[in-house]
Symmetry: C2
């Protein structure tokens, strides 16, 4: 993992399977090679047969033995959307671990849906990677069953929703980050601090805003709902909601922008209104994308160790693959530490 | 392709092969299945045998027949370095074409070397993709022979060097872009225009600077070598060379920054010296990364249609795969048009 302070929970090893491939074949009324074909994602199986076999594999909790022998030297990496400005940091992390392990990375996009399509799962089953890293993207129950029956492990990075207690995942301490960002503003003397959150269906964005609230409350400051706007992590939203906040007669003197892209949108809103950062208004981002150092003024932000998180996710998925043969327990829920990076977009509030 | 004005050349179809797999086996003194194993990238072949077989395959110009039947539903995408800020645009383009064709994308990085390593070529031979798209990265002769013998087509996107007349490639009209950027500055009234180039070993960066020179010369302006700095396309270099240019007593009133990252470094240099963009100095980038719209002031730049170029490269490689069976000629050298996007980082020179 990393030198940061990981929060871990452990899951129990799963019960050993009972049904064999031959038993599944008998129950389905097909030959053992037909079950093999289904497991290998071959196209030459009648759809009805295939569905029946998949159902039995799932009902029996079948897990392929000796999966190592038949694995391709690949890791699958699946994004919710490649638009994400930090996708590159994640790709680099997975690529680092894959290269060291002699594996190649297969990239896909679930194209805006929060679970990748059925075709995707079939393709994965057919190519038999060492494991699957999902970014901000979950799997539905049948997809999980399909991967489990092939002994293809998976890990979710930075879960969008609550991934369920038994889904291995790597996250960051989002709540701590929201807390640190807001405390920094409080310590500079700000009393009216606004926020632009990410989409509420993503747990990471909820956690950040909860950290913001906690910082205000522990400082004895009121939480003004009018100063909390709901965004979607995109630049345009940071601009639009930034204007809403800054055009108020009682505008905040500082804003926690939820992520770096929204912070950059906020910069544009301030620029258009003739407000200087940080002299007239302070702003803090979240992520620490490379661009945060390049904008003017350089952005104070909460660093999320994205490359390290991706490396941890890739290492975890490979470890799960090895553990499947040993039935050894593994730490499967990890949060890596975030840290505040103070640059020059934050300063004391203007004298009034 | 795209509605832009493509520059095309055509290559001749290659001569039909003569030696069969059985003949290669006889000449190498091994069995035909052993030659098959080498072609399939299997590990269970003695290194000496393997080398001998590879040499014969190459000497005879062997090309696998019926390659379609044994292909995996994959496209390989190889980057010179994933650091590149525009890698995401390229990945998205290849991903779009792959998804429509029911293929997945395997991503690798040649880790700063200009040709990917030997291990990479072996892995590609073993996984038998439909084709390989190389970004700013070439192949050495033995790697080309290895892919050719397996009938795995490849296309180079935005060649770093001169890829050779028979290498299929997709580029952009870099020279036209450098010309348009510099003409824009000349038309605004600038007479002392500096430039920060990319690395001279990349043909794209040479072409941009040649376009810059052509614009000055056709406007009857002198080309001052002292105002042309050699960079490496990174932010830090734009900052450092930007300071060098701006600290001159006879500093230029405008700069063509070679790419967007160098332009952003130049912004930082201007900020530190208390110079306003565009009131005190104008700057033009190249690429039109998303961040060009987000910085203050939004950057005037030359748009390179990166996603469309990547789509064209992926489509071309699939077309070459189909053409191999038909021996049909294909347009294999294409340059897509660049276009100037005028934002607010450029204006008339300051009155002196």
């Amino acid at each position: 993992m990393t030198p940061s302070d990981p929060v871990e929970t452990r899951t129990e090893a799963r019960p050993t399977q009972t049904a064999t491939l031959a038993e599944i074949a008998r129950e389905a009324g097909v030959s053992a090679p037909t079950v093999s074909k289904v497991l290998n994602g071959r196209a030459d199986v009648a759809p009805a047969t295939r569905t029946r076999v998949e159902e039995l594999l799932r009902a029996h909790g079948y897990r392929r033995r000796r999966a190592e022998a038949t694995r391709s030297p690949l890791i699958d990496l699946v994004f919710h959307e490649l638009e994400s400005a930090w996708a590159m940091e994640v790709i680099r992390g997975v690529e680092n671990v894959a290269r060291d392990a002699g594996l190649s990375v297969v990239l896909s996009e679930s194209a805006g849906r929060l679970t990748p399509g059925r075709t995707w799962a079939d393709q994965v089953a057919a190519r038999r990677p060492h494991g699957v890293v999902l970014v901000l993207s979950g799997l539905d129950e049948s997809q999980r069953a399909l991967l489990t029956s092939r002994s293809i492990p998976f890990v979710v990075m930075d879960p969008a929703g609550d991934p369920g207690a038994d889904v291995p995942s790597i996250g960051a301490t989002n709540w701590q980050g929201g807390l640190a960002a807001t405390r920094h503003l409080v310590e500079l003397g700000h009393r009216r601090i606004g926020a632009i959150s990410g989409p509420p269906q993503m747990m990471c964005s909820r956690a950040r805003i909860d950290g913001y609230r906690a910082a205000l409350e522990t400082a004895g400051l009121p939480v003004d709902q009018q100063l909390i706007k709901t965004g979607d992590f995109h630049h345009e939203t940071g601009y639009r909601l930034g204007r809403e906040l800054l055009e108020r007669p009682d505008r905040p003197t500082a804003v926690f922008a939820g992520n770096d892209l929204q912070a950059l949108g906020f910069y544009e809103a301030a620029r258009e209104l003739g407000l200087r950062i940080p002299e007239d208004v302070s702003v803090v981002g979240f992520d620490d994308l490379p661009v945060a150092r390049w904008v003017g003024p350089p952005l104070t932000t909460v660093r999320q160790p994205l490359t390290e998180m991706a490396e941890a996710a890739a290492r975890l998925v490979l470890e799960l693959g090895r553990a499947a043969s040993r039935e050894a327990p593994t730490a499967t829920r990890v949060e890596l530490a975030t840290s505040l990076v103070v640059r020059t977009s934050t300063g004391p509030p203007p004298a009034r």
